[in-house]
């Protein structure tokens, strides 16, 4: 189980260096338009890839996962807050699962 601490410390060091190096070393703007654009798109691509198709197996049933996914998409598209989107997605899945377990 000591390996878990090595994992935690390794990721902490990597993440900290990413944050600290630019803030301490770089004081000029990044000139490369490609790198600037790439860095801009990275979070969107990462989060999208992490969300789908993993969200389909986030709960015990495909149907409840789909319900949560749909609710989250609709609310997010209407610019609801982070908390509302996450909470309602869970609630939708929970309601669907209640029906599934009764059936």
């Amino acid at each position: 189980m000591n390996k878990i601490y090595l994992y935690i410390i390794l990721m902490a060091v990597v993440t900290y260096l990413i944050r600290a190096l630019p803030l301490t070393l770089i004081r000029k703007n990044i000139k490369s338009r490609f790198i600037r654009s790439f860095l801009f798109y990275v979070p969107y691509a990462t989060l999208a890839a992490m969300t789908f198709p993993a969200i389909l197996s986030a709960t015990d049933y495909l149907a409840s996962s789909l319900a949560g996914f749909a609710v989250a998409l609709i609310l997010a598209f209407n610019k609801r807050s982070l908390l509302t989107v996450a909470g309602c997605a869970c609630a939708a899945a929970f309601v669907v699962e209640i029906f599934l377990r009764m059936a």
């Binding site: 994992y7 990597v14 990413i18 803030l23 798109y41 989060l47 982070l82 309602c88």
Partner: protein, 240 residues
């Protein structure tokens, strides 16, 4: 005065209250997931305290759960958290040059999407004490939520936990979807990343690639193509 007054610190704390609440909910989900793969509450809390990165921590769980390699974990964290480099770079311009390296190192600890947004759009000068207020309040929520989630994960009934697994994805969707309304390029990036990720998950041979590397490959390919085909205008870069 370079550090700022105690009022700066108080303002930072106050402005970070919504972030603190949001973090409570998200890290609650992280705590649950962490307990699912067998992490103790102390280990989960330590992960949150030392990393303060939602996407990074969630993705790390997957690697840790299947005893993945250290190299894979390091590369995964590097790619997923690469965006912090852009944010740190932007913040380095916002801080006055006379702010010392010590303060810069301390502020670096708390560069997250939300704290960055509050610091960067702070009117007037950005003082280290304001940043510390933001960081202390946000991290308090982040670690507390993790502990509560980890304990709850061991206590709550399975059917409730099953649904809470959606919270993190709901959060990701809430972050990326609203911006796709403003930009065709972003919409294409999000849809392509989801499609490519689906192909990598189910296609023969490709599905053998581990989850962590799948996300790295999809991210680099999609973001690089988007940057080539649809580079950002300079004036757009400031409105993130």
């Amino acid at each position: 005065m370079k550090v700022g007054s105690i009022d700066e610190f108080k303002q930072g704390c106050k402005h970070a209250v919504p972030v603190c609440l949001g973090y409570l909910a998200v890290s609650f989900a992280f705590g649950i997931e962490a307990s699912k793969i067998g992490m103790t509450t102390f280990q989960a809390a330590m992960t949150s305290l030392l990393n303060v990165t939602s996407a990074g921590q969630f993705s790390a769980l997957e690697v840790i759960a299947r005893n993945g390699s250290f190299v894979e974990l390091a590369v995964l964290q590097f790619i997923i958290n690469l965006r912090y480099m852009l944010m740190s770079t932007a913040l380095s311009q916002k801080l006055k040059p006379e702010v010392s390296v010590g303060h810069r190192l301390a502020i670096s600890y708390g560069v997250t999407d939300e704290i960055f947004a509050l610091s960067f759009f702070r009117k007037g000068e950005l003082y280290p004490l304001y940043s510390y207020g933001l960081i202390v309040t946000s991290v308090l929520g982040w670690v507390t939520g993790t502990i509560l989630g980890s304990v709850a994960g061991q206590l709550l009934p399975e059917r409730l936990i099953s649904c809470l697994g959606l919270a993190i994805y709901g959060m990701f969707i809430a972050i990326i979807i609203p911006d796709t309304r403003k930009s065709r390029a972003l919409l294409t990036v999000v849809v392509s990343a989801m499609l490519l990720s689906t192909i990598f998950t189910y296609a023969p041979v490709l599905k053998l690639i581990s989850g962590g590397f799948r996300i790295i490959i999809v991210t680099v390919v999609v973001a690089a193509l988007a940057a080539l085909i649809c580079p950002r205008q300079d004036e757009e870069g400031s409105d993130e």
